[in-house]
Amino acid sequence: MGNSVIVRRLGLLAVLALCVVLLALVPYLPSYYVRVADSILIYIILAVGLNLVVGYAGLLDLGFIAFYAVGAYAYALLASGQFDIHLPFIVVLFIGAAAGAIAGVLLGFPVLKLRGDYLAIVTLSFGEIIRIAINNADELTNGPQGIAGLDRASLFGLPLTSPVHFYWLLLVLTVIVCAGVYYMERSILGKAWRALREDQDVVRGLGINTTTLKLLAFALSAAIGGAGGVIFGAFQRFVSPESFTFQESLLVVLIIIIGGVGNIVGVIAGAVVLVILPEILHFAAQYRLLIYGVVLVTVIVLRPGGLVSPRFNLGFIIRKVRTLWLSPSKT
C-alpha cells in the first residue's frame, strides 16, 4: 500500500467527515439558518421526485406543485380543526403520498399519450386547475384565506415543533428518497425510463408498454411530491393556495436544470443554490428579483448542461469511495 493511497483515503475521509460535521452543525445555527436548511431539504425532496419524470423519463411536468398541494391539504384537512379530524402525522404522511400518487395516475392516465410540449402544457393546466379549485372550494379549504392552526406534528412520541426537529426529519427523509431513487435509477426500471427518454418508438418496438412506464414515473414522483406536501403542511402549520402557484412548479424544474438533469448530486446542488440565492440577495432589497433573474440567465447561458457535470453523480461518488477502500490499486 503506497503512501499516496493513504493520503487519498485521508482526503476522502476528511471530505466525508466535513460533510457530516456541517450537516450536524446546522441545528446549532440561529433559527433563521435552520429554516433555510429545512427549505433546501424540502426542495431537494421535491426536485428528486420531479427528476424521476423530467430527468429519467424525459417528460416535462410543469404542474408538479399540484401534488405538493394535494399532500399539504391532506394534512390540513386530516390534522386540524377544519373538520375536527386529528390523525397522527405518520398516518397522514402515507395518506398524502398515496393521494399524490392517485392524483398522478388520474392526471397521467388520460394525458400520457401526449408528447413533449403538449404534455408540458397539459400538466401546467392541471396544476392551475388544482390551485384555482382549492382557491374556490370555500367549504372544504377556506378558499384564499387558507387553513390555519394545523396540528403540531409528532413522530413516534417525539414532538415535531421547532425547525430543528424538522431539520432532522427532513434530513432522514432526504437520504431515504435519494437512496430509493438512486436504487431505482440503477434497476431495470430506471434503464427502461432512460430508454424512453432517448427514443420512445424503440422502447415501444421492444414490446414495452410505454404508457405504463410513464404512469409509474408519474405516480412515484407524485407520491414523493405528496409526502413533501404533508411535511410542508406540518412545518408551516398553515396552508393557502398562494404557496402552490405556477411559479413554484417552475422553481422545482429550475432546480433540476440548474443542477444538472437526471443527476441527484446536481439536484442537490441546484436546490442549495436556488434556495440560498434569494436569501443572500436580501441585502439588495427591491433589486433582489432583478439580480436573481440576471444570475439565473447568466448561469444557464454559461453552463447550459447544469452546474454539476453528469459524470459527477451519486454512482460516481459511491464507486470512488468503494474502489479507494476495497481495492486502491485500481484507482
Partner: protein, 316 residues
C-alpha cells in the same frame, strides 16, 4: 337576452383578439425554434409602459397633435419591444441552441423574471393609470352596448393579423419564416439564412405582443408589472389550442379562448343554477384545452403529418 348576448360577443371578440395577438408570438417562436418562450408575456407588459413613456414625452415636447404623438408612440413601442426581443434571442437563447430544449426554456424563464423586476424597480409595483388612446364612448348596436374602445381593439387586431398573414404568405421574408419553421436544416441547405428568419420572428412576435398589451391596457385603463404573467399563460394556452406552430391556429385559438371564457363566465352560472360560479373562469380555459388535446393531440389547426415528423422522438 339577445342584446346581452351581443354585448358578450363583442367583449369575447375584443379579448379574444388580444389573446390571439399574443398567441401569434408564442406560435411563431415555437415554429422556428421549438421553444416555449416564457418571457413572451413580459413583452405584452412592456408595450403599454413604453407607449406611456414615449407618449407623455412627445406630449411634453409639444408641436404635434396628440393623435400624431399617439401614433408615433405606438409604432415606436412596436419597434423598441421588437428590437428587445431580437437582442434577448441573440444573447439568452442563441448560445443554448445545441443544448436541447430545456435550457433555452429556462433561460426564457429567467428573462421573464429580469424584465418584470426591471419594470417593477423603475416604476414601482403598483398599478398605474394608462392614458386613453381612444375616448371610450358607448354605442348602441342592435340593443347591445358596445364601446368605441372595444371596436378599436377589434379593428386594430384584425388589421395586424391580416397584415401578418399577407407578410408571411406573400413576401420573401415571410417565406423564409415559413421555410425555417418547416425544416431548419433543409432551409439552411437551400440558402435561407435561418438566423435572420429567427431574428425576424423575434422582432414581429414581441412587437405584436406589445400591441396586444397596449390594447389590453387601454381596455382596462390600467397597467402593472405583473399583468403579463397570467395573460401570457392564457395566450399560450390559446396557441396550443389552435395548434402550436400554426399562425392561423393562433388567431383561431385566441378568439376561441376569448369566447370560452366570456360565455363560460356569463352563462355557466345560469345553466348550472348558480352552482358553478364566475370564479371558475380560468378553469374553463384550461379544462377545454385538456379536452381538445385529448381528442386532437396536435391542436385544432396543428399539422397532422405523421407522428414522427411532428414530434421529436426525444421528449426532453
Amino acid at each position: 337576452m339577445f342584446d346581452y348576448f351581443l354585448q358578450q360577443l363583442i367583449f369575447a371578440l375584443a379579448i379574444g383578439a388580444i389573446y390571439g395577438l399574443i398567441a401569434l408570438g408564442y406560435t411563431m417562436v415555437y415554429g422556428v425554434m421549438r421553444l416555449i418562450n416564457f418571457a413572451h408575456g413580459e413583452f405584452f407588459m412592456l408595450g403599454p409602459y413604453i407607449y406611456t413613456f414615449l407618449f407623455s414625452g412627445l406630449l411634453g415636447l409639444g408641436g404635434l397633435a396628440p393623435v400624431l404623438d399617439s401614433a408615433i408612440a405606438i409604432v415606436a413601442s412596436f419597434v423598441i419591444v421588437g428590437l428587445l426581443g431580437v437582442a434577448i434571442e441573440r444573447f439568452a437563447y442563441r448560445p443554448l441552441r445545441a443544448y436541447g430544449r430545456l435550457a433555452p426554456m429556462l433561460s426564457a424563464l429567467g428573462m421573464s423574471i429580469v424584465l418584470q423586476s426591471a419594470v417593477r424597480v423603475t416604476v414601482g409595483p403598483q398599478p398605474v393609470h394608462f392614458p386613453a388612446i381612444v375616448e371610450s364612448t358607448p354605442i348602441d348596436a342592435l340593443g347591445g352596448m358596445v364601446t368605441t374602445v372595444q371596436l378599436g381593439i377589434l379593428a386594430a387586431a384584425v388589421l395586424l393579423m391580416v397584415g401578418l398573414a399577407l407578410f408571411v404568405n406573400g413576401t420573401r421574408l415571410g417565406i423564409w419564416i415559413r421555410a425555417a419553421s418547416e425544416s431548419w436544416t433543409t432551409s439552411s441547405l437551400l440558402g435561407i439564412r435561418v438566423n435572420r428568419a429567427v431574428s425576424l420572428v423575434f422582432f414581429i412576435g414581441p412587437g405584436l405582443g406589445a400591441m396586444a398589451g397596449i390594447m389590453y391596457a387601454s381596455y382596462y385603463g390600467i397597467m402593472q408589472p405583473t399583468m403579463g404573467s397570467v395573460i401570457g399563460l392564457k395566450a399560450f394556452t390559446a396557441a396550443i389550442l389552435g395548434g402550436i406552430g400554426s399562425i392561423p391556429g393562433a388567431m383561431l385559438g385566441g378568439f376561441l379562448l376569448g369566447a370560452i371564457e366570456v360565455f363560460g363566465t356569463a352563462f355557466l352560472p345560469i345553466l348550472s343554477f348558480g352552482y358553478i360560479g364566475t370564479e371558475y373562469r380560468d378553469v374553463f380555459a384550461f379544462a377545454v384545452l385538456i379536452l381538445v388535446l385529448l381528442f386532437k393531440p396536435a391542436g385544432l389547426l396543428g399539422e397532422t403529418v405523421s407522428e414522427e415528423t411532428t414530434v421529436a422522438k426525444k421528449d426532453y
